[in-house]
């Protein structure tokens, strides 16, 4: 299989669908002439022209709303949030219109829209430019929310998202654009609502998504050397959420640690713990541990930022706790 980067996988998904379907267009800031601040759309304006690759003013609410209107009118827009941090200016459009129009129109309108862009921190962008919004958007019925971690998944899920008849919040792991992986040459999609076992194990289940998955795989290696067999569950899809795979894994391991970059309160990890105590109550041999971003806005300083996100040591400690090897 060809090995390409997360960025190339994303771009090829969009380009292929644009070739297949005239209705697919891109909107966003500096995605055309500039080439995209993360070069995800680089070159597409030359291939598809300015009517399909639309550079917008700095007005996230306006162009997201316009894209919703385009989608209602039968087009298949893909909106780039230069970074998801700017989506707070589009929240009213996303939550009040995109997520609800199908419902309050009694099913007369639909919004086949994809909103994509990099999410999460790790490159010292500080407080206003560092957010991990899976739970934030995942709370709302009418939205679908995904957070792929590999080139394979990001391509398959982007094609799935473009073809989806409902609005999809597509949260890319900004830190992973340059990472490489195998991606099939032939057309394929990755369905929503299916988690992936990134590594099999029997002693403890490590649950994560996005860039945490790579961290969890490293942790699993470390644990292996300590004789602990860790299973790594990559959620991939936040809404719909794959409860079965999660519960099946913990039914095997009886222990779980949920890891996320986002803050702890009312979060994805909270839901993981709630689901496990609900559906695997008698299987759990220890409380589900949560390792989350520190309870503060993201700092700028490199040393502070590194301390702000889940680290290998923190996760290993949490694993030891669920194994009652440490408190």
């Amino acid at each position: 299989m060809p090995v390409i980067t997360y960025r190339e996988a994303l771009k090829s998904a969009m380009a292929e669908e644009m070739e297949r379907d005239e209705r697919v267009v891109l909107l966003g800031e500096d995605i055309g002439v500039y080439g995209g601040t993360h070069l995800v759309t680089d070159g597409l304006i030359d291939r598809f022209g300015p009517r399909r690759v639309i550079d917008t003013p700095i007005a996230e609410g306006g162009f997201t709303g316009a894209a919703i209107g385009m989608a209602m009118a039968g087009m298949r827009p893909i909106v780039e949030m230069m970074t998801w941090n700017f989506s707070f200016q589009a929240v009213d459009q996303i939550i009040q219109n995109a997520a609800k129009v199908r419902y309050f129109s009694g099913g007369q309108a639909s919004v086949p829209l994809v909103i994509r862009g990099p999410n999460g921190g790790g490159v010292q962008l500080s407080a206003q430019h560092t957010h991990s919004l899976e739970g934030f958007y995942g709370h709302f019925p009418g939205l679908k929310v995904v957070s792929p971690a590999t080139p394979h998944d990001v391509k398959g899920m982007m094609i799935e998202a473009i073809r989806d008849p409902d609005p999809v919040i597509f949260l890319e792991a900004g830190a992973l654009y340059g990472t490489k992986g195998e991606v099939p040459a032939e057309e394929y999609t990755v369905p929503f609502g299916k988690a992936r076992i990134a590594r099999e194990g029997s002693d403890v289940t490590l649950v994560g998504y996005g860039r945490q998955v790579n961290l969890l795989l490293k942790v699993a290696e470390t644990l292996a050397s300590e004789g602990v067999s860790a299973e790594v569950v990559d959620l991939r899809s936040i809404r719909p959420f794959d409860v079965e795979t999660l519960v099946a894994s913990v039914t095997k391991t009886h222990r779980a640690v949920a890891v996320q970059e986002q803050w702890r309160w009312f979060s994805v990890a909270s839901e993981v713990a709630a689901l496990l105590q609900e559906f695997a109550f008698d299987e759990l041999d220890a409380p589900v541990e949560r390792v989350s971003g520190v309870e503060a806005p993201a700092p700028y300083s490199r040393s502070l930022e590194q301390a702000a996100f889940p680290s290998e040591q923190q996760i290993v400690k949490a694993v030891r706790r669920v194994l009652y090897r440490e408190n």
Binding site: T56, G62, I68, A71
Partner: protein, 354 residues
């Protein structure tokens, strides 16, 4: 998704006269029959709103209820230019828009009553009427929020190569919202290349809820705000149907050609409270309301028709009786309709089977 019900099954909407305005023999202005048709529509709309108000007072209609009374000439005039494929979008004061585009009084009243036979199955209520089959794309409750949607729809219409337009209504209060600024700027920008036939219909009824235009902005020439986006604009007397018709036909015809946006500020007045729950109306005087009632768009049109001899007092009484009968029938239908099937609670959240 759209078109599941056939127009036939659904009935004729309000009034007999077709939506199109036919020129009179003299070549300028609509002919008498056309005007009588509009008069009849406006009558039905007015009586419909009165009935809705009663429904609210008696607790049969819940939530928010925003009536169009006093502003009928605006929507009646502009929507007379509707052609299949056009898209109409407005805020929550949307009953007239739905009725004028062809939704039946029964469907709309049933929606207000929250019944399963309602226009959107009882799910949206007064603020969220939709009739996609007839070009009505909603029906939105967040001030300003619908504006970018309309602009995007206009882009799509040209992207598909049609000569259709979007008619986008907004209020004097909405123009101060950031969504207006961002949406209008996109319309101007895309319109430069003929990719945005959005007709902004700014219904200036002097108040955003209880806040007068003067208390909402230091620059009260609202249509001039479109200069910031290179969108040409004009004002029109929104209570004079003939003036609105002349403006609407001219403007919409040229937009179909150019694919460029345009804005019209329709000066009008709501002679009823902002919402059915706005009892006090401290923000305006009884006298002001009385003054405007003298300029009631239905009264003005009625006067014209009598003057022209297009209608007699007797015929007016007949038309009023017919309108009342239509609305009474709608109320009876709504009253007797069943509640929505409880299974509808969780349908239309995502596409079937998606």
């Amino acid at each position: 998704m759209a078109g599941t019900q056939s127009r036939g099954k659904r009935g004729a909407g309000v009034g007999e006269a077709g939506a199109k305005s036919r020129k009179g023999g003299n070549g300028h202005g609509p002919d008498d029959a056309t005007l009588v048709g509009f008069y009849q529509k406006m009558l039905v709309i007015r009586l419909f709103e009165d009935a809705a108000q009663r429904g609210f007072r008696t607790g049969k209609i819940g939530g928010y209820l925003h009536l169009y009374s006093g502003q009928e000439a605006v929507a009646t005039g502009f929507l007379s230019t509707y052609q299949p494929g056009d898209r109409v979008v407005t805020a929550y004061r949307d009953h007239a828009h739905a009725l004028l585009l062809g939704a039946t009084p029964r469907e709309v009243m049933a929606e207000l009553y929250g019944k399963g036979t309602g226009l959107v199955k009882g799910k949206g209520g007064s603020m969220h009427l939709f009739d996609v089959e007839n070009g009505f794309w909603g029906g939105y409750g967040i001030v300003g929020g619908h504006i970018p949607l309309g602009v995007g729809m206009a882009y799509a219409l040209r992207y598909e190569g049609t000569d259709n337009v979007v008619q986008l209504s907004l209020g004097d209060g909405a123009i101060h919202n950031g969504a207006f600024h961002e949406g209008a700027n996109l319309a101007g920008l895309w319109g430069r290349d003929g990719m945005n036939p959005t007709l902004f219909i700014l219904e200036n009824n002097k108040y955003g809820m209880g806040t007068s235009v003067e208390r909402a902005t230091a620059m009260t020439d609202l249509s001039a705000k479109f200069d910031s986006y290179a969108i040409p604009h004009e004002d029109v007397d929104g209570n004079d149907l003939l003036a609105v018709l002349e403006c609407a036909e001219r403007v919409v015809a040229s937009m179909r050609e150019t694919g460029k946006p345009y804005a019209v500020e329709a000066i009008t007045y709501r002679i009823v409270p902002h919402g059915a729950a706005d009892f006090l109306e401290r923000y305006r005087s009884k006298d002001e309301i009385a003054e405007w009632r003298k300029r009631d768009p239905i009264g003005i049109l009625e006067g014209r028709l009598l003057e022209r001899g297009a209608l007699s007092e007797a015929q007016i009484d007949e038309l009023r009786a017919a309108a009342k009968a239509t609305v009474d029938d709608a109320v009876a239908f709504a009253e007797s309709s069943p509640e929505p099937d409880l299974r509808e609670l969780t349908t239309d959240v995502y596409a079937e089977g998606a």
